[in-house]
Assembly symmetry: C2
Homo-oligomer: 206 residues x 2
DNA sequence: CTCATTCAGAAAGTCACTATCTTCTGAAAG
DNA sequence: CTTTCAGAAGATAGTGACTTTCTGAATGAG
């Protein structure tokens, strides 16, 4: 299934991401050029664009993107299933980068939360994250529309509420210094929405 | 208060926006350069950047940005006051561009809705709109936090739900061809949210 | 009238991103 | 093992958005 080619590509992608974050941490996002990142990761600038599309994409790119939202989100209980996903992701930080090779960098650098700082500290990255959430919302909304009694417009609105509400909760977590678990912020923040979304669906499990 | 300078600036800004939209309509957003826009509007490229910051800003820039959100949004009934604002804006399209001078272009071109097409048809403009909504949300959230029993996190989540929910409704309006009034889409789309937001506030008027 | 401020234009530079072409290489067929 | 080939990586040359800096001029205050 996964040939040598794909493994090389995945390795290159991880190298680019980590070299880029190292450079960003050191000198700031804006001050680092794509050429420098490519040189540090020992690939060509073209490859950086092939893999990530944009400079912000290096930070934002997420294995999450390639997932099928239907596997993650239960249309009957969107808030609850989102919460479960957050908890699962938080509990298994290694799932984010894969535990293939421990020798490619320092351990702390491999935390999936390292990137998150740039989501909120670097305006252009923040915008890229918003664009990503918007795309995710457009993929998820049809699921809600198909499952519940929501109209198409309502499904879009509710999905945006959910997705961008999650973003707001994540930002609060970040602004608090990232010490307490994220799931707490999501649960608290989305609590006002939970009742509505349950009532309009077919009713999820307890 | 409004000196000669400011009037010249406002006039130049409107000229840039209309010339730009003319060119975009004619040849597409990406195919038009800032230099061409500046030439058509008879200003320097520097001025375009001084006024709008980015190419997308020409389309997205909105007198809405300079408003105080407190004048528009009632924390006791956020959905209701948003709906009233939409209806008011929709009823008075001339408020958007000002009725100062009718000789600066064809009448149809002055519709404030002309720009909206690019919100959804041009990806980079869409992203700029999302960034704008995000900024608006961050200004509005403190109002909700101060007025109701919502926590800070909840206020941010609910405001994002409101603002990006409105965006979703607007997109549905656009996708439907823009024939029926926008307020209808907003009312229908935000209906699931209305109950929650009323219940958590101090209760607005009927 | 004089002066400080502020704003428009000019000009040069940076760099993200694209398009195209060539080269290489992993993988499969013979 | 050799050959073949599709697709991926690299090299190269742009384009144009955006920044920075400087200069001159219009404005409004004193």
């Amino acid at each position: 299934m996964s040939g040598l080619r794909e493994r090389r590509r995945d390795k290159a992608m991880r190298a680019i991401q980590e070299c880029a974050l190292d450079l960003f941490d050191e000198r700031g996002f804006a001050a680092v050029t794509i050429e420098e990142i490519a040189a540090a990761a020992e690939v060509s600038p073209s490859s950086v664009y092939r893999y990530f599309g944009t400079k912000e994409g290096i930070v934002v790119a997420d294995e999450f993107d390639r997932m099928n939202p239907a596997d993650l989100l239960d249309p009957g209980d969107p808030v609850g299933s989102l919460l479960r996903a957050v908890r699962a992701y938080e509990a298994a930080p290694e799932a984010a980068t894969g535990s293939a090779d421990a020798s490619t960098g320092p351990q702390a650098a491999r935390s999936p939360w390292r990137r998150v700082r740039y989501f909120f500290a670097e305006p252009s990255v923040r915008v890229a994250v918003l664009a990503n959430l918007d795309r995710a919302s457009r993929r998820i909304a049809p699921l809600l529309a198909a499952a519940g009694e929501l109209t198409g417009t309502q499904a879009r609105v509710v999905t945006n509420a959910l997705v961008f509400g999650y973003f707001a909760a994540l930002e609060q977590w970040y602004l608090d210094g990232g010490s307490r678990p994220i799931a707490g912020y999501v649960e608290e923040g989305l609590r006002p929405l939970r009742g509505v979304l349950r009532a309009s669906g077919h009713g999820g499990p307890a």
